[in-house]
Amino acid sequence: MSTIPEALPGPAPRPERGGRDSGSGGRRGLGRIANARIAVVMLIAAETMLFTGLIGAYLVLRFGTVVWPPAGQPRLPIPVTAANTLLLFLSAWTMSRATRALRAMDVSGALRALRVTAFLGAAFVAVQGSEWARLLAHGLTLGSSVYGATFYVLIGAHATHVLAALLWVLGVLFVLRKGPITARRRVGAEVCATYWYYVCFLWAILFPLVYLV
């Protein structure tokens, strides 16, 4: 008896990995969370501790000063910043539209929503920058007082994070334009969305704390 191969020899089939690494985590095991998701959760946890330290320092200096804001310092532009806040929250909504479109495999809808998100994020940063320029012209600088120092450090740290998130969104846009939506690209876009939501949530904490209280 001889054995005749029906097909040309090729690489041996990869053994199916069971247990933890298999598919949907039904009867076979515990399921899988993408490494990118775990990474962004760890990143957000670390960023939270960073902002907690900054906010803690702000609270000590804020409560330690009897008159706040100190006399002679310009007042913060609350109406403009409130409108800017709405822009940022609107960008969170458009980002959710983008992820929903990705799940529905609607590439053009996702790209459109991502472009609007990037535009709103850029508008937020631009308005913040213009308000900073006005405050600097009116004498509120890093060295002018504790008020100026805490303002620029806290809000500047947030603005840096918004800029980084914006670059990330642009990167996701570039990747999604290149080809079809694969599972990996979808997870990458969702992870970017998670970080965008976090940046918006941070502003929801910082705006009342720095501008309104």
Binding site: M1, S2, T3, I4, P5, E6, A7, L8, P9, G10, P11, A12, P13, R14, D21, S22, G23, S24, G25, G26, L30, G31, R32, I33, A34, R37, V41, A45, T48, M49, T52, G53, I55, G56, A57, L59, V60, L61, R62, F63, G64, T65, V66, A183, R184, V187
Partner: protein, 101 residues
């Protein structure tokens, strides 16, 4: 279906957690350090009060973060909302089969 990593039902964890949160709420939680209160002008000194509030925020944050991250993992496993396995190549492997004459 019971997850072997989560043998305890959520309700039994919530009660001690709630007790912990309620224990931290009274005003005495704001007076963490009596030495800080005496070095300043007492607990009514704005700087001391600021330090107390700041300490409360900073010390509670790691617990909050760990609880949220843990809750997220629990939610993912409970809901079974997992990601598809990563595919290491787009082509199917060629399989060699043998037939006997």
């Amino acid at each position: 279906m019971d997850n072997p990593l989560m043998p305890v039902r959520m309700g039994r964890l919530l009660r001690p957690l709630l007790a912990l949160v309620l224990a931290a709420l009274p005003a005495s939680a704001f007076g963490q350090c009596s030495m800080c209160g005496t070095v300043g002008q007492g607990a009514e000194d704005p700087l001391v009060r600021g330090m107390f509030v700041s300490t409360l925020v900073m010390v509670s944050m790691p617990f909050t973060v760990v609880a949220l991250v843990g809750g997220w993992f629990y939610y993912k496993f409970r809901r079974g909302a997992f990601d598809p396995p990563e595919q290491e190549g787009s082509e199917e492997d060629r399989v060699v089969t043998f037939r006997r004459d």
